[in-house]
Symmetry: C2
Subunit: 345 residues, 2 copies
Amino acid sequence: MTDSRLLTTGELSERVEAIFRKAGFNAAQAGAVTRVIVAGERDACKSHGIYRIEGALRTVKAGKVRPDAEPEVPPQNASAIVKVNAKGGFANPAFELGLPLLVERARTYGLAALVINDCTHFSALWPEVEAVTEQGLAALVMCPSYSAVAPTGGNKPLLGTNPFGFGWPRRGKPPYVFDFATSVAARGEIELHRRAGKPLPEGWAIDADGRPTTDPSAALAGAMLPFGGHKGSAIGTMIELLAGIMIGDLTSPEALEALGTTTLAPAHGELVLAFSPEKFAAGRSGDPFARAEILFETIVGQGARLPSQRRFAARAKSQAEGVALSAAEVAQLDRLLALGVDAVD
Amino acid sequence: MTDSRLLTTGELSERVEAIFRKAGFNAAQAGAVTRVIVAGERDACKSHGIYRIEGALRTVKAGKVRPDAEPEVPPQNASAIVKVNAKGGFANPAFELGLPLLVERARTYGLAALVINDCTHFSALWPEVEAVTEQGLAALVMCPSYSAVAPTGGNKPLLGTNPFGFGWPRRGKPPYVFDFATSVAARGEIELHRRAGKPLPEGWAIDADGRPTTDPSAALAGAMLPFGGHKGSAIGTMIELLAGIMIGDLTSPEALEALGTTTLAPAHGELVLAFSPEKFAAGRSGDPFARAEILFETIVGQGARLPSQRRFAARAKSQAEGVALSAAEVAQLDRLLALGVDAVD
C-alpha cells in the first residue's frame, strides 16, 4: 500500500512532467502544463491541481489537443497587440512565449494585449495573472470555455463559465489577484459535488427543462446560472465578444460544437490585457503602488478579506513544509506515469 | 397651471442648455452636460434625465465643480494612452475632447485608453460607451464614485457604486451595451425609493450598524452591498485600482473625503478602453461583426434579452413622438431657468 507523502514542489514537478512526457507531450507543452498544475496543487487549489492531469490526458487521447504543438509568434505589426498561435496545443506554453513581448509592448505603449489563438485552455487564469503582475504590470485576463451557462432569462446552455481574472502588483507581497468563473460556480465545483455525492447550493443551476435544481448530475445535463443575475450574464457575454469573436477565435457554443462533449478541455482563444501603472500615473501626484496599499489596508481593516489570501497562505505552507498528497493521490500519479494516456478513457 | 408637454429632443436640449448657461456654465460644459441629460430623458432612463439637473446645479453652487472649466489635452506621448484634463469641470466635455484622439489611437495600435482626470462624473456611462461604438470600436468604461458600498465581509462604506460599462458596435442597429453599478443597485435607485417612500428589496443594503435593512434612509446612512457577492466586490475594487489609483486620480474614499457629503456629484477620474475588432481579428477567419450577430440571435432565440433594449425602444418612441414631460417637470424646468443656481439649496 502506498503511503501519503510530502513532496517539494520540485519533486512534484518532476513526477507530473514525467507523466506528460511519457504521454507524448513535447518539452514546451509538458513544462508549461506542469507548472500550472503544480501551482494549483501547491496553492491547495485542488480543482486546478493534479486532479486536472487526467482531463489533459483524456483531451489528448481524444485528439482534441496536440501534445507536440510548438506555439508560434506570427509576424507582428508595431501595435499594442501581441499575437501568439498555440498551434492546437495548450494555452500555457503559448502564454509563456508571448509574455515577454506583452511586457515590452505594455511598457512601450502603456497598455497592450496578448492574444492567444488556437489553444486549449484547461487551467485557472491566476497563474497568468500573477506572471504579468510579477513584471510590475496590472493584468486583466479572460477567455470563453464551452456552453454551460444559460444567459439570464434564457433556459439553455449558451455562455461558457468564462473566467475573468485581474491582478495588481504589490511590492514585496503576493499580488492582489482575483480569478473567478462568471457562472455562480465553476464547472469543476459542480463536478466535485457530483463526485462527493453532495447536493448543490440553491441558485447554482437549472435542469434540462429549465427548472432550478440542486442535483449536480441534473445541473451538468442542464445549465449553470451566471453570477449576480443579469450583470454577470452581461459580463459573460462580453467575454464571448472580446475573447472569442474579437480575437477571431471560437465562442463557447462553437467550442462545444467543435469538441462534441463537455468532458474534455475546450479549444478557443484567450485575451490578456496588461497595463503599466507607471505610464498611466505619469505626471500625476502620488505613487500608485503606495496608494493601492492604503486601499488594501482599509479593506482588511474593516474585516473584509482580499481575494486569493487563502491560496497564498497555502503556498507559504507548501513552500515551507512541502505539498501533501494523500496515499490515493500518490498511487494515482504512479498509475498515470506507468500507463500514460492508456490510464484514461 | 402648467400642462404636460411633448417636446422634440431639440426643444428639450434648448431648455436644458439655457438652464445651465443661465447658471454660469460655459458653452463646452453646458453643451456636453445637456447632451447626456437629454439622452437619459429621451431613453426613459429617468434616474439620469432632467432629474439630474438639480444635482449638477447643487454641485456648482457648493463650489465642487467648475462650470467654466475648459478641458485640456496635455502634451501627449506616442503611446496608446490619451490623457485629458477636465480642469475641475464635468467629465462629459473632457470625454468629447478626447474621443477623436482615442479613436485614432485605437485604430493605430489596436487598443487604446482615454484617461480623464480631475473631472466630476454625474451621468451614466452608456452615452460614452455608445459614442465609442459609433466609431466601430468596442468600449470598456469604468470610474469610481464615492464610498457607499461595503466590500464583502466588511461593514462600512468604502467602495463606490463604481459603474462598469461595455459596448460592442452593431451594423445598422443600436450597439450591444451594458452599463451597471457594481453595487446591487445604483445609488440613484435607492434615492428614488426614498422619495417614493418605498422599502428596498432585501439584500441591497446594510444600516450604519452593519445589519441588513430595507429602509432607504437607513441604507443611505449605512452601506450598499456589492452585486454578486465577493465577485462584484472584487470588480468594484478593480475599478478603484484601474480607474482611480492607476490613472493618478481619487479613489472613492478620497472622493468622499474631498467632497464632504454624499449629496453632490463626486470628483475623480475615468478610464475608457477602446478596442478595434478589425485589428484584433486581422488574419483570422470570419467577420467579427457578423459573428457577433449570431451570438446575439442565439441569446434572444432562447427568450433572454440583450441589455439596453428597453432604452432603445424608448429612444425610438421619443424620436417618433417626442419626449413626454409631466406638468410638474415642465414647471420645474421653468423654475430652474428663472432662478439658476438659486433654485437649489
